[in-house]
């Protein structure tokens, strides 16, 4: 869980984390419960499936799933950071933290 460890620092930097996948909310609930809960909202890009992922050009048509990625949006609604990750790799929390800190 990349963001759990840095969540309090992100809060101090006025940043809200939103998790997104194309799973149904019921699946999300089961998943977050299995982790003991996550401290940020998990959103379902479910109806129509993948619509938001597609709008962000983060949709893998072949797999029918979102591409693993982090997108950072500033308070004015402008995209300021965008990185995708290969399957099996995870975002570096410190890189994300530094990118958010650079916004302020």
């Amino acid at each position: 869980m990349t963001f759990r460890r840095i969540y309090s620092r992100l809060e101090e930097l006025d940043a809200q984390v939103l998790g997104i996948s194309c799973d149904h909310t019921a699946s999300h609930r089961a998943w977050t419960m299995s982790l003991g809960g996550v401290p940020y909202p998990e959103l379902s890009d479910w109806h129509p499936k993948g619509a938001v992922s597609k709008a962000y050009d983060l949709w893998n048509e072949e797999r029918g799933a979102s591409i693993r990625a982090v997108v950072i949006i500033d308070k004015e609604g402008t995209i300021r950071f965008r990185q995708t990750y290969q399957p099996g790799t995870l975002p570096d929390p410190q890189t994300v933290l530094a990118a958010v800190a650079a916004l302020s």
Partner: protein, 45 residues
């Protein structure tokens, strides 16, 4: 491309597991937003 660095983030409203519907625009002017796109649940990705 619509979602490059420097462009306006596409607006969305999605249901969340525990917090009802959430829209990107509700954070406008008050919070930076870190979107974490996952592949699938239970994969660690």
């Amino acid at each position: 491309m619509a979602a490059e660095v420097g462009s306006t983030a596409p607006e969305f409203t999605m249901p969340s597991a525990n917090d009802g519907d959430i829209s990107l625009s509700q954070y406008r002017g008050s919070k930076h937003v870190v979107l974490s796109f996952h592949v699938l649940n239970f994969t660690g990705g």
